[in-house]
Symmetry: C2
Subunit: 300 residues, 2 copies
């Protein structure tokens, strides 16, 4: 097994200034796995209820996602998040969260995943994330994502996890909140002192920055006139980033730079449609073309 | 004459969260000219009072700035701006403005400047900017900068000027305000429809974007842990941008891309010190080294 992603597979109800979609498929693990599936064959660890659409399970399988770790709870209801975006797509309010099958979820890593080369702890409760470490042999690379909610409510658990991961994906708000530093360079430095060798700071329309040993990289976002649905952009970034590293089988600075661009590329596709919409038609050639567009965007 | 800059030469009193400086030399024309002086020999058109320090005049002359258009009003007092920055260096409040000699200033273009190849209307009252067009033969390139104050108070004059310029430098707030578009790509498109072929949107710590015919460019800002004084960053960007184009004597896409990076390079030096401090020791080799650092920052 190469890349293993532990996170949420969920229903999202999404309101944007222009539209509303009821209970479409989302979740950190879903977006991460679908984005990574263009580079490698990720395995997922997540839980859903019996109400989860079989068509999505089939879609994930078709994309080469290994579903041995996807638990389907009989009679259970899938986790459901309801969020609303304002005119600024970087800001969102949570209207409602129904944990449902997540209430009793204890992630179990299938035997086949224990030797994961790359482990991605996508956003779920830090207590669940922490329990994963006991179930896997030490992966070559461990990466973490979380959200503001857990920085606010479970800072100690997060600090313990940060000590054990190699890569941490934060957005600008999270990086500032976690460190009390407004300046993102200082914030990234402070986070690196907490544990992760590599810190990725995602800045929405302003792209992302990657900080690592002897490495500072600025990745633009693709200029986008209309963000249809920002949900999952960060998870897709992480999926593209880690999917590429898994394919490259190298964590050199050169591959980390490329991984960050593939991360930004995948995020740029995700926001073009609601939920996984854009991925229904996305071909590898589209990804290659957009990678070239990113090169053009920063060429001088 | 090649590059001519019309704008303000001023005293600034600056408060940052950490420090305060009384009546140091600033002004849009000053920053623009000093930045441009590393690439070409700009001429300036501005006014100061008799209180303006001779040492600064000598410094500008030493930097190769042509001062034929600098009017020194006998017995007059130099324009004085007092501003305060918050923790976010992109946000500032104007505490006080003493127009002084600017009250009666009517910019006069010296005969030697009438054939300017590039004309930069740096930030001053749009009514004064508009009067310049009558005094120059059509330059190969005309560029404009302004501030929020004039977008709010003199929108009609600004619209007339925008119709006549080739390049417009805006920060993100100004671009949004001028167009009512939150999305910067749409805002830049809307501004291009108002006249300028090339729109540069400066985003502070997030760098800048350049929009032109068949051209979209994303330029990072140099990662900076501590902004000493943000004053003049935008003017220095414009000075570096136009100074480079004047040196290149070409407005090709390739040179515009390089110009934008030199703009970001010069801005990155300006914010390292109060006022013109950093320029007292800045050597061409420092600029070359930083240009290389920018290449590293976006290489993938």
């Amino acid at each position: 097994m190469s890349l293993v992603i532990v996170g949420s597979v969920a229903f999202d109800t999404i309101e944007t200034p222009g539209e509303r979609r009821e209970k479409i498929v989302g979740g950190s693990c879903t977006y991460g796995a679908v984005a990574a599936s263009y580079f490698t064959k990720p395995g997922i660890v997540a839980v859903v209820g019996e109400d989860f659409p079989k068509s999505t399970v089939a879609f994930l399988r078709k994309r080469g996602v290994d579903l041995k770790g996807l638990k389907i709870v009989k009679g259970g209801l899938t986790f459901h998040w309801h969020g609303r975006y304002g005119d600024d797509p970087n800001q969102r309010d949570t209207i409602r969260t129904d944990l449902n099958v997540f209430l009793d979820f204890r992630p179990e890593i299938p035997a086949a995943y224990k030797k994961a080369g790359i482990l991605f702890l996508a956003n779920i409760d830090p207590d669940l994330q922490e329990a994963i470490f006991l179930q896997v042999d030490k992966p070559r690379l461990t990466a973490l994502d979380t959200i503001r909610l857990y920085i606010d409510t479970k800072p100690e658990a997060l600090r313990r996890i940060l000590k054990r991961v190699d890569v941490y994906f934060a957005n600008d708000e999270e990086a500032r909140l976690l460190t009390g530093q407004r300046n993102l360079i200082l914030a990234a430095e402070a986070i690196r002192e907490m544990g992760p060798r590599i810190v990725v700071v995602k800045k929405g329309e302003h792209g992302a920055m990657v900080f690592g040993p002897d490495l500072v990289l600025s990745v633009p976002a693709l200029p986008c006139k209309w963000v249809v649905d920002p949900t999952g952009a960060g998870d897709s970034f992480a999926g593209g980033f880690l999917g590429w590293l898994d394919k490259a089988q190298s964590f050199s600075r050169r591959e980390i730079r490329r991984a960050a661009v593939y991360g930004s590329v995948m995020a740029s596709f995700t926001i073009e449609g609601f939920g996984l919409e854009r991925y229904k038609t996305l071909r590898p050639a589209d990804i290659a073309a957009r990678y070239t567009a990113f090169k053009q965007l920063v060429r001088f």
